[in-house]
Subunit: 334 residues, 2 copies
DNA sequence: TGTAATAAATGAAACGTTTCATTCAAAAAA
DNA sequence: TTTTTTGAATGAAACGTTTCATTTATTACA
């Protein structure tokens, strides 16, 4: 079999009887006479020419790659976000370099450097360590949710405060009297913290006594939840709370499982609203998880990409908040 | 601010007082005298040198990229597979180009070409169209599950036949008398088809009458399932089946929801075993979905990458089957 | 008709590596 | 000591683009 060496621009130029630079211009959409254009197009077709992205990258010092640094793609919110980012990039002819950093600082930094080495056009970061100091000034970067004290980077997030208020008000609307909050502590400042503020604000507004179940990443949260349930049992076996706003759908789901195990009914005894809008299998109603404040994953991804590639990311208001929505999913009465 | 032009190998050579080629050798792990090595290392550190992957790619006509073509990352099985592929590549210093083709033929082909253009080291394909004819002979490619008549490509899959047998036998072991199969038809030949064969084999072995609920991708499967339940109600309101083996966890989950809506108890009245081993949030027991035959996602991903990068993918037996496992998840009695 | 202005085409140079044919130095063999 | 052998060091060439200073052709104007 003859050698399959792919044709180069030089070959095309020779075949078409034009100069190398003319082919380049034509490829890049610069003005070329109709006559040459036809010849070059014919040559490209006959030689089955494909542009070499490495030569382009070397020359231009940039790729058409965008890196997404994310903890993993197991968590449904992350995987859904990843999916939408990929789509937003695809629409713009960009490609996605997926970096699962596991939320580990060292890996996040490693990927950050790798991305820069690979001359990616930009980075979207959904990270769990304070990488602010490691981010080159020269590379466009958009942060999801997180806030870095020392670096003023464009950020995109859901309107967490409004979402938390909405959750409480929906619970009240559905008849709850005592909504508690499954609170997640993070040592990293970010927009998700506003869920707590929103809950407190809504409680104050409606003259409710705030109450918390404090969960953490590396803690035995099941025990904490069980303990909470135990301590909130009335003498007649009923519970002293009837509503739960969970920091994420995940915690809401776990809590719901525990309640049912303990013989309580969801949503009849306790109504639960989570946060994220997880919809496994991405399939309308089928995959619905629990009632939730839904983050607009597609809009969030689109916005991240838009800001990243707009080129003037430093001119963009540094925080973009997108609206959330309530969606019932079987753990509430409506 | 001074220009931040990144240092090149030439700069390092000059700084270290050695030849360009020596730096290259040292970077690539070829023998270099201890003295020069020290000097070069110092220079690299002081100049903060990072190798330019585009120059490498141009020279070597290859990248360190591997493309994964997959329908999406929403489906938990896909997203988990993606995650593990990323990890397997990371361990080998390779990077993941994620291509979500939505199972659309035209997009799958488009991504295939893009990957080849980008001189990826290889492609892992989990596709939903007959792309066999579009695959260049020159690029390493490993197929997950699917079989292409016209191209003998290395394939990796779970042992679906054994898994289906195991499902039926577990149901019997847990006391079921009449396990039915939620069957999924695909017009593309692949290993997942063997689930049907396994079910039939197990039925024959245990003298059971096979029975099916036929689901499809773009059909109103809910209606089909409801209809099945209706038709299998005995006069006393009980059901004439007591076990379900679902082609995927997804269908098992949907069916379980319907059964509960109809007032039946899972697992007391009907036990359900799905296929895939979906574990949302990737968190041991917490995220457990339903009882399932678990595909060894990490081993599958690892194997795909291993074969892909072994270089002799054409020497590898064309089909690699990995063993599956049963895992209880609340929709069975054990 | 001659000159100026405009537009297109040209091809060498540069991007930062790796490779390879040479050169050089040191150690081993004669 | 002289010759061979060995192994490291060298730097030019090549990978396939894009860019840019020139050249060439065309049109507009006086």
């Amino acid at each position: 079999m003859a050698s399959k060496k792919t044709a180069t621009m030089k070959d095309v130029a020779k075949e078409a009887g034009v100069a190398l630079g003319t082919v380049s211009k034509m490829i890049n959409g610069l003005p070329v006479s109709e006559e040459k254009r036809r010849k070059i197009e014919a040559a490209i077709k006959s030689l089955n020419y494909e542009v070499n992205t490495y030569a382009q990258g070397l020359r231009a010092q940039k790729s058409n790659l965008v890196a997404l640094i994310i903890p993993n793609t197991n968590n449904p919110f992350f995987s859904s976000f990843t999916n939408q980012v990929e789509y937003a990039l695809y629409k713009r002819g960009k490609k996605l370099l997926l970096c699962c950093a596991g939320g580990i600082a060292q890996k996040e930094i490693e990927y950050l450097n790798m991305a820069i080495n690979n001359k990616v056009d930009g980075i979207i970061a959904l990270t769990y360590s304070d990488i602010g100091n490691y981010i080159s000034q020269d590379i466009p970067l958009v942060v999801f949710d997180r806030y870095f004290e020392n670096r003023d980077l464009p950020r995109v997030a859901s309107d967490n405060f409004a979402g938390a208020c909405l959750a409480v008000e929906k619970l009240l609307e559905f008849g709850c009297r005592h909504p508690v909050y499954i609170r997640f502590y993070s040592f990293l400042p970010g927009e998700a913290d506003k869920r707590k503020d929103g809950y407190l604000y809504a409680c104050a507004k409606h003259h409710l006594e705030p109450d918390f179940i404090d969960v953490e990443n590396s803690k035995n949260n099941i025990a904490v939840m069980k303990d909470f349930i135990e301590k909130h049992k009335n003498k007649d076996g009923t519970l002293s709370f009837d509503g739960v706003f969970a920091h994420t759908d995940y915690y809401g789901y776990i809590f719901q499982k525990l309640l049912r195990q303990e013989g309580f009914r969801v949503p009849e005894d306790v109504q639960i609203i989570g946060f994220d809008g997880i919809n496994i299998f991405g399939n309308a109603d089928d995959g619905l998880f629990i009632s939730s404040i839904c983050q607009p994953v597609d809009a969030l991804a689109e916005k991240c990409v838009e800001i990243l590639l707009s080129g003037n990311s430093s001119l963009t208001p540094s925080l973009t908040l997108l609206p959330v929505q309530y969606r019932g999913g079987g753990t509430t009465l409506e």
